[in-house]
């Protein structure tokens, strides 16, 4: 656990770098977090991030399949947007906790 200042906001993150409080998230924070993962965010990325934040805040379990059926991006596209672990990386950048799903 720790805090770090990012895009002018002091955020709490856990040991793995996931934000502890989703309400501290802003699009600017996302942009900085994405850079740490080597990703430059586009509008498409933000659409995915907003979708998974909505689902998370509604208390729904997130899966790759759910994002693939969102109409925003297919699964292949999702892997291209967030290479090397799309659901985990997207969750980290979206400021929500690490996904606990197996699919």
């Amino acid at each position: 656990m720790g805090t770090k200042t990012i895009a002018g906001i002091e955020i709490q993150v856990n040991d793995e770098g996931y934000m502890m409080d989703a309400s501290q998230w802003t699009p600017e924070v996302a942009s900085e977090l994405a850079k740490e993962e080597g990703i430059e965010l586009t509008d498409k990325h933000y659409e995915v991030l907003n979708f998974i934040r909505d689902e998370y805040l509604k208390g729904n379990q997130l899966t790759i399949r759910k994002v693939g059926k969102s109409g925003i991006v297919d699964i292949k596209g999702l892997y291209e947007l967030f290479p090397g672990g799309p659901l985990k990386k997207a969750s980290k950048i979206a400021g929500i906790s690490k996904p606990s799903s197996c699919v």
Binding site: Q61, G68, V103
Partner: protein, 168 residues
Amino acid sequence: MENNNDDHRLKKISIICAKGALEDVYATLVLANGAVMEGMEAKVFFTFFGLDAITKKRMKKMHTATVGNPAMRMPGGLPFPTWLGILPFVEAGVSAMMRSQMEKLDIPPVDEFLEMITAGGGEIYACKLAMDMFKLTKEDLSELVKDVLTVGDFYALAGGEGSQIIFT
């Protein structure tokens, strides 16, 4: 992470699926999909009855065994007697019920699962020997099957640092 010379993380898994019951196939698919979700390389080799999972005519009809399966339970948890399992349609009914339970957990049908795995860069292979045995050709298999391999070909693909082979 501090010491990159001491990186023992898994980087690649190769999974062999030799059985065609619903639970064997799903164990394979969940492991493979989980690997690509984690950014790992995944290769799946279907052989013997496992070929059902990638055979177009059979992949949508996976069953679980209701006979000779001591872990089988009624929905309430009571034992599931073997004699019940031999009645017509019971195995189909139980299997359909399991599939619908999985759907609720967002676990997709076999064909869609294979699409998810390959969309993430996972690779699906079929065993040449088993195909010859079951008189199957490449045309009988899902388009997502990348190649038909001998066991030697499979081992050649399965190597590398941080790689493991799993037999389900």
